[in-house]
Subunit: 361 residues, 4 copies
Amino acid sequence: MKKVVISTGGGDAPGLNAVIYAVVHACYRRGWEVYGSRSGYGGFLDIDEMVRLTLRDVEGIYAIGGTILGSTNKGNPFAKPVENLAGEVQVVDISEKIMRNYRRLGFDCHIVIGGDGSLEIAHRFSQLGMNVIGVPKTIDNDLMITDRTFGFDTAVSTATNALDKLHSTAKSHDRVMVVEVMGRDSGWIALYSGISGGADVILIPEIPFDLDIVCQKIADNELRDKQYAIVVVAEGAAAKGGQVISKGRGEMGREEVVLGGVGEWVATEIRERIEKDTRSLVLGHLQRGGSPTTFDRLLSLRFGTAAVRLVEEGTYGHMVALSSSRMISVPLSDAIKGRKKVDLASDKILTARDIGICFGD
Amino acid sequence: MKKVVISTGGGDAPGLNAVIYAVVHACYRRGWEVYGSRSGYGGFLDIDEMVRLTLRDVEGIYAIGGTILGSTNKGNPFAKPVENLAGEVQVVDISEKIMRNYRRLGFDCHIVIGGDGSLEIAHRFSQLGMNVIGVPKTIDNDLMITDRTFGFDTAVSTATNALDKLHSTAKSHDRVMVVEVMGRDSGWIALYSGISGGADVILIPEIPFDLDIVCQKIADNELRDKQYAIVVVAEGAAAKGGQVISKGRGEMGREEVVLGGVGEWVATEIRERIEKDTRSLVLGHLQRGGSPTTFDRLLSLRFGTAAVRLVEEGTYGHMVALSSSRMISVPLSDAIKGRKKVDLASDKILTARDIGICFGD
Amino acid sequence: MKKVVISTGGGDAPGLNAVIYAVVHACYRRGWEVYGSRSGYGGFLDIDEMVRLTLRDVEGIYAIGGTILGSTNKGNPFAKPVENLAGEVQVVDISEKIMRNYRRLGFDCHIVIGGDGSLEIAHRFSQLGMNVIGVPKTIDNDLMITDRTFGFDTAVSTATNALDKLHSTAKSHDRVMVVEVMGRDSGWIALYSGISGGADVILIPEIPFDLDIVCQKIADNELRDKQYAIVVVAEGAAAKGGQVISKGRGEMGREEVVLGGVGEWVATEIRERIEKDTRSLVLGHLQRGGSPTTFDRLLSLRFGTAAVRLVEEGTYGHMVALSSSRMISVPLSDAIKGRKKVDLASDKILTARDIGICFGD
Amino acid sequence: MKKVVISTGGGDAPGLNAVIYAVVHACYRRGWEVYGSRSGYGGFLDIDEMVRLTLRDVEGIYAIGGTILGSTNKGNPFAKPVENLAGEVQVVDISEKIMRNYRRLGFDCHIVIGGDGSLEIAHRFSQLGMNVIGVPKTIDNDLMITDRTFGFDTAVSTATNALDKLHSTAKSHDRVMVVEVMGRDSGWIALYSGISGGADVILIPEIPFDLDIVCQKIADNELRDKQYAIVVVAEGAAAKGGQVISKGRGEMGREEVVLGGVGEWVATEIRERIEKDTRSLVLGHLQRGGSPTTFDRLLSLRFGTAAVRLVEEGTYGHMVALSSSRMISVPLSDAIKGRKKVDLASDKILTARDIGICFGD
């Protein structure tokens, strides 16, 4: 009999609940106990936040967005800002308290579902003696080790669906529609949704763009009597030669919107340069929500059960990953080495160019 | 045998194509000829823009957003800005040319699908001798005479679907999500989607709001351990006592975004006043696109065939309308008398309040 | 302070949970207590099945199909089959026990959500002294008094969506697709989904059909180079002159499938008579499930709060209903007088014929 | 300048149009001419069925199910049944005529999108001297060489969505729902949709099932107070020891339904053996229709452009395929060697078992 605890960290991604569902079921099947720590490490700090998870608790949640374990952006336990009575904020290390309670509660393993930040913290706890198994999570699909992360297919589907909706209006009204999608460091969502959603232009961080080329492409559309265009912009896309446009953001993902993002800027420039009626739209958090697609449900459930099989083997300090459609495990220390960029030589880029999509280069 | 021409005017609304489908089929069934004028009155100005419509041309279009008759915001023929060779813009009246071509082409009737602007223009042509039948269109549902306009149910469904998606993230991350929906003069989309999508707060033009009350409502959520909130804001909503917030817009719907809209303003205020992690999202043109819902398809098809029955009777100068689930006709002169506001005494408002929704009043 | 109990009876309909949500919220807003009786009258027979409902219990359920109050086809309390120790089944009247417990538990009112069967039973309890408010439910939309019942719009949307999917295959493969939808006594779902989903033929109980006319219609399609056809059949449709085709069904909704239904029969006949590749599909319970559409959510929430307002007024023995887009109440005794048939003179039938749909007559 | 012809063969699969879209765009980009042969080889037999494809012809079709090249089950040109004037049917070989016209029309290459049957025929034409490139198609995902075929993700999504809908009714009404999905030789759709849709039991051709074990699983559900169950059955699943149940089918896909399929049989057995209210549903052609998912759109577009790149290289007689997320090409002779069965040792089967799914073994 083992006693396992699971937690979720970082931003929302469709499929978090499906991973929890799989972990709970796989533990029950082995006769193990499984607990959930609310709000990341909350259950290690306040026993009321450490909840026993039963099959009934997870009934049907594989199909539901969000996480039943609640809010997760609670900061780094190794450097947590705490306010003292005098109202001053001090950064303290509460990792020792977490380790103490981890041991007191007698857990055999802590399954951490999180992005690079959460997994790095998990790795540090692993070094302190916690038995950790990681499950990779980011809707941006930009983790190095795993071929895919859950939530990505759902985010792409939401973005593609939005492009489908915008097409009819763009076409009926001879308009340029600029849609900003997620992707601060990589253009995965923009690339996949742009190809699938019939974009004319896709702007991604990996390819600095030239607005003159973008405008030329849109103007060329008219030569074959296509009076409209769809432009998909990753939030991290930037123009060549320093016209860097980006939303200012503070620490820990707290967003401070500065005069619109790159999508709005691109729309304004197109409107001015070629006098087309141009509108922009930011999809934002729509991409993080909703019921996971079939693809993401299956991937999440596979990740969850694979994590439990690692617990069974005692392969701690590892993360589950997808490699060529098989489940593998890699050391946590290897897991988070840089972001996976869109490979400009991949056939997806070739496909995009072949169906007439312009990258502004 | 009659010869009918159909045109679409104004902004996009899901169901335009379904009206066209119904008109074409109903004309064919009577052995009539039917034409489509592209780009509003474009076909009356350039014969290449006047196209014969066959059953094959409209195959399957009842399920598709947009309009096969193309871009429609081409201005008022009674006061059209035209650029002369010297580059000066003059306002000219081209209505006479349109009437002349209408007569030359031998049409018996012109079916105009449009909002209040297009229908007012149609009424003027009616007074000049054109046989006009109107079909009301606005996704805002704010026309006085008809109980419903097509496109509204689809817009509400899109907005509700977005709220469903945002719920999981809001809940998982203890966030306030502010969603700005369409409705410059009336709060129909905000009200319907807010009730159906589980909003905590709905702000509409008909009820000036007090941000303190809004913030209090969100803070009260925490009393029953609900750490998140969904706020739906119609773009025309305004705070009490003059804190008027609105996007600046120029002539003819050309949008000039001025520092974000009311949704972003509300989000900023909530963030500052009660220190909740608050995000805002503008649904924008997503609401105008996509395949029409079953409700909108049926309504559009009924409008289209009802219009043809009016042509058959020779009841020109009228508009079709829905009244207590029956198709009726009303004189065009009566059709566009003011906007239909949300009735504050209706049971929908009572329902909203009964399920705990706050209007900021 | 009032003490209210709510129950759900009969077949599933999207929106049941939304009614419950609205009742619970509206009661809380008034400071009342609200209970749910599981499995219809189960809570009046077994106290464990009578559950207190809190706001937390109903969180988010307005968007979810089914009913949190569980299985409902438990038979008529006035004539309930009970098995004795000898294994013999006797029909007993347990209404007195229910009345006794209703009084002991001190309820002020029982809100019953149900179809004609459940509402008739509710009416009998009303005559025995129970304070009853009815909420009408049937996805078939065939109740006399109310303009609409919840669940219908969702069922029609599911059927229309299925027709959309079948269209592409039918067209690509020159096939006739026959789709059997719900509607044993009336053709509402078939009519609405057939019009919205581009059917060529709609067969409903209100119009006995002639298969020769149906086949002629499909053959005529080929004259205008349309090699495929979509046929929508209500399960209660029947051929003229006695070729009655129906699924045999036993007591209490227990289905005994007898050699397929009318859809399969129609498909077989078409295949044989005009040698077209013809397939049939029964949508069945897909029509009863899923998240309610925006339309159904709003209607359900309005019904729920309207019911609580009737409790507030003490208007017992009544049912809420929708009449010309307003909430009204009618005596339960009037509520269930016969089924609402499709009005053959309505403009919906005219619309269907005008867009070329054949009813086989 | 090259001259390419494209054709589609066999059953419908979402994504066919997206492949055509990609081929046409990729050819235009190279300045090539591209034609479509309607109805499989129809364009080689009747010049009216050979159509020039322009960018305008394929506008927006990447998002639409079916194939614009029309009906495809027209039989094997090497052994085509032809009726003579006496009404006798003879089998003739028309391949020579096709080769002659292929050469006369001056095509450089014929891109064939099809399943194993179509690709085998294409291979024979390849041996006769036709330059052929194959694109693999089957919604069953059971081709050996390629990791995935397009249409599969859409079919699985449709099935999963149906399971989601049935869940609420099953749960609310304590029912067993048996859903029959496609898969005559392999259980891919059943496995993927069953895992993603929360099935209790999945029955696939690869695992002969024992109905006693299935019934035991459903009965065991009640031990943990789960009164309902979802059973997914692939149409080719069979009970152990010879209780072979299958739909009889005649030549050329013409279906002759014999007393229902395996789904209905399983439902009947469950109803009788454990006296649960059990219903069955056959999803049928719903799985072949509809707009392709984002995943399938991307895969189809990649296949289409990869095929054109093979034409560019002159790598004729090959088929494009997906291998570990890369596009590869394989000789047509290798392409169709047996069906890909579900690997019983794969982690997907482990995942299914770990989340409590029973395979009846």
